[in-house]
Structure formats: structure tokens, C-alpha cells
Amino acid sequence: MNNALSVASIVIKELYRRKDFYVLFVLTAIITLLMGSLHFFNDDRIVRYLKEICLLLIWISALAIAVGTSARQIPAERENRTIFPLLAKPITRGQLIAGKFLGCWLACGLALIVFYFFFGVISVSREHQWAAASFFQALWLHWWMLGVVVAMTLLGSVVFAAPSSNGTICLLIILSILLLGRHLNKVAVQLAEPMSGVVSAVYFAVPHLELFDVRDLVVHNWDPINWLICVGATLYAAAYAIFFLFATWLVFRRQLVLRWQPGCSPGTRVGRAAALSPIACWAS
């Protein structure tokens, strides 16, 4: 656990020393403040739209931070070769994965606290009331949803070599789940076999991230959802995050830190290799 926490602390330091978070926060703040300064149709309830837009921006920013941060973790360690001095220390690959996950997830949590604090200040200043329990549930479930996103993206980062391709693919999958996930079972009913079975299987296999979207509670100042449901959703997210992390570890533990490629150093060659490529080297 000590090693995982040490790695996590480095990930968090990286996040707050990069500009990504600040840029996204400033953009969200500017858009929200600009919209908040306008007064449409003399309608006091317009503040709900403002809250909705602000929360949407927070969701987009949080997804960008979560996917962007976790997609580059392992590939950047390889590309910058920082993985060599690190793995030369008494740290296992499992601890490294756990540390990367914890770091990204905690960093996302810190970013969410800043975003939601800003959101809270804006909404209280306009509405003069604060549904604390609903607000907490929205923040809590959002954070656990990001845990699944981070774990999924980490799995992608050991499968795809380039952070950009991993980030794009993961973002597409996550947006598809968020937008289409809840409709897949209805689509499956309308399809013929075997497609119906395939779509149903996908419906039951994918993590339903849309379950964690309880923005409406905050926007409309509704009562909080049943706390048992909240606990259930937390366990659901934890199960998926553990599954993705386990899969990441399975792939990463057998993966070569170095990949042999033609280009630099000869060894004794057997078979056609000798004739085809006179030199080769270890590359990250």
C-alpha cells in the first residue's frame, strides 16, 4: 500500500503542476459566470438552466481530466523511460497499477471538489438555498463513476501504445455508454437474432455509467435518493473498477517493459532473423 500511495502522490503532483485542470476550471467558471450575469425573461427560475449548464460543463471537464490523466500514465512512463528507474526499485507491477489508479482517482476527486465548490457558491448566491444531501450524492456518485472511467482508461493504456488513441477510444466508449447505454435493451428487443443477443449481452456487460448521473437532484432541488441505492451504486462502481484494474494487471504483468525492435544492437541470431535484420535493439 505504501508503494501505491507513493506512486499516487506523484500522479496528483503531476495533475496540479500541469495546466489542463486550470484551463478547464477557468473555462467552466467564465462560461458559468457570463451566463449567470445575464437575466432572461425576468424569470427567477432561470437559475435552474444555469445550474444545468454549469453541471454539464463540470461533467465534460471531469471526463476530460479523468481520461486525459489516466490515458497517458503508463504510455508516458514508457515514452519518457521513467519506468526503468521506477521498476528497478522494490515495487511490483500490481502496486504500480494500483498507485496510478489511486493517483488519477484522487486527483479527479480533488478536481471535482474544486468544481462543485464553485458550483455550490454560484447556486447558493442565486437561489439562497442549498440541498446539501442531494449535492453530496451528486458529487459522491460522480466521483465513483470517474473511478470506473479511470480504471477503464488505465486498461486501455496498457493495450494501446499511444495515449491519444487510447484517450479517443475510451472517450468514445464512455460517451456511448452515457448516451446510449440505457437504451440498448430496448434496441435489442427490436432486433432479430443473433444481433438481439449480442446487443443484450453488451447491455448487461457494460458498466452503466448513466446510473451515476443524478444532476437533476441538484438542478431541481429534489430530495436525495434512497441512501441504500447510493450504497448499491457505489458497490456497483467498485466492482467494475476492480474488474478493470484486475484486467489491467493481467495484461501489464506479462508485458515487456522493453520491446525488441530492429535497429541497434546485434545478438546471436537464429534462422532467418540473421539474414533479414543485421541489427536490433531494445526499445521502450
Binding site: I10, T82, A88, P90, W260, G267, T268
Partner: protein, 263 residues
């Protein structure tokens, strides 16, 4: 061809700190039609406590592959390697070693102090000891004044020195240096040599991969010469020089079978 043993530093009853037994490392290239390449072939050697051991060979001889096996980066095809009697596959084998890679790359957004603190925590150095230990190694490598600066602002020589500092943070009993003077200017090289001598005088063991023969002749007690993945010779530098009746460079060229004009 079996390795030509000159002499070993082995004393009766002394246990090797690093032991490689019949090591074979093969790899498969990704290109279509290519089969197996043997990077290291039946390598056996032992390094004893307090030695500075030079691991020599031309580019592509298998030195870095062997170092990568010792660090657990590359899986072994056959044979085994042990550090302090622990198989290198076990991460705990790396608890008492320091490693300086050929090219040093560290987290550029960290300062030297933060980087060393991070590695110290991985070695589970007690919290109270971390500060004094960081002060000590930063003074040793001459980076005391730059400790609060981000690593991205460091020159190449300074980055090599922070590499040495991180290799020394756990007071290792065995230091594995992979071409430590690669890319350094003459002053940087001299500093590294002095540091190796200092470590030797403290009784540390240094496993030193290089093809800089002048350097090896100055600092190493024993050497092993690797060529095309095979161990060609091992023994004391002085014995090797005496056997071939020439300097280390010429002896090295003879051992690897190099004839001028016939590559």
C-alpha cells in the same frame, strides 16, 4: 567457445552477491518471418562483495539485456540470476541495489528533493531518515544548491548526477551502472569515476557495464567480456593484460576476435 577464465576474486567461503547461472535470453521479433534471436547465450558469472566488476562488450553484445534481466525488465528464457541469493524475478531482490540507467530520465515536473523523497518512500526508508539521507546524497553528487529546482531545468550532466543520487538513496550494497559515463563531458566522467572509487572504498559492490575501456581499466577489479551474447573471458584486468601481453583495449579486441580491416 567456453569463456577463458583468467582468475577470479573468489575467496574461500565467500558468497557471491550477484550470480548468473547459464542464462539464456531469447526474443521473438514482431516482423513476419523472423524467428528467435538469442540476445544472451548460456552466460554464467559471479560478482563478490566489495568488487568493482566491469561488464564489457561491443554495442549489441548483450550487456544491457543482462542488466535488464537483473532488474526484472526482461524475462529469462533459461537459467537464472540471483542478487543476494534472491531470484531477480522477486521484486524484493531489488531492495538493496541501486541502478543508474544509461540514459537518465526522471519525472521532469518534480524537484530533485521530491524525486529522491519518492524513491526513498518506495525503499521504505523511515520518515525520520529520509531528510538527512537526501541531504547526504545531494551533497555527494553536487546538486545541493539545485535541490528545489524542477528537473526539467537541469543540464544533461546534472540529470546524470540526479540519476546517481537516486541510485544511492537506499545506501545500496550493490550498484548496477549501465554505461554511467555515456554522454558526459570529461569532467563528468572523472566525477563518476571518483564516485565509483569512493563507493569501492566504502566496501560497496559495483557492477559496471561499459565499453569505455580506459575507464574500466582505471576502476575495475575484474571484468567479463561479452560478445554476441556469449561470455568470452572473465578475470582480473591485470591478468588479462598479462595474458595477452598488451593493454586492455588490445586484449579486448583479441578476445572478441576483431582483426583490423576485417569487420
Amino acid at each position: 567457445m567456453p569463456a577463458q577464465a583468467v582468475t577470479t576474486a573468489k575467496l574461500p567461503g565467500m558468497k557471491p552477491i550477484l550470480k548468473i547461472e547459464d542464462l539464456v535470453v531469447e526474443y521473438r521479433t514482431r516482423e513476419f518471418g523472423q524467428r528467435v534471436t538469442v540476445a544472451v547465450n548460456r552466460l554464467s558469472l559471479e560478482v563478490f562483495p566489495g568488487e568493482v566488476f566491469g561488464f564489457l562488450g561491443p554495442n549489441g553484445a548483450g550487456k544491457t539485456t543482462t542488466v535488464n534481466v537483473l532488474l526484472g525488465f526482461v524475462p529469462v528464457t533459461r537459467g537464472a540470476a540471483y542478487i543476494f541469493n534472491v531470484n531477480v524475478r522477486d521484486p524484493i531482490a531489488r531492495q538493496r541495489i541501486g541502478y543508474l540507467p544509461e540514459l537518465t530520465y526522471y519525472y521532469k515536473f518534480l524537484t530533485a528533493e521530491e524525486l529522491l523523497r519518492f524513491y526513498a518512500r518506495i525503499f521504505r526508508i523511515p520518515r525520520a531518515e529520509i531528510g538527512p539521507r537526501i541531504d547526504e546524497v545531494l551533497k555527494l553528487v553536487g546538486l545541493d544548491t539545485a535541490r528545489k529546482r524542477p528537473i526539467k531545468t537541469y543540464s544533461k550532466g546534472m540529470q546524470q548526477r540526479i540519476g546517481l543520487a537516486q541510485a544511492l538513496i537506499n545506501e545500496p550494497d550493490l550498484l548496477i551502472l549501465d554505461e554511467p559515463t555515456s554522454g558526459l563531458d570529461p569532467i563528468g566522467r572523472m566525477n563518476v569515476r571518483e564516485m565509483i572509487q569512493r563507493l569501492k572504498s566504502k566496501g560497496k559492490t559495483v557492477f559496471f557495464s561499459s565499453h569505455e575501456l580506459g575507464e574500466v581499466e582505471t576502476v575495475c577489479d575484474r571484468v567479463a567480456i561479452l560478445h554476441q551474447g556469449e561470455l568470452k573471458a572473465t578475470g582480473r584486468v591485470s591478468d588479462l593484460v598479462e595474458k595477452y601481453k598488451c593493454n586492455l583495449e588490445q586484449a579486448f579486441l583479441k578476445v572478441i576476435g576483431y582483426e583490423p580491416g576485417h569487420e
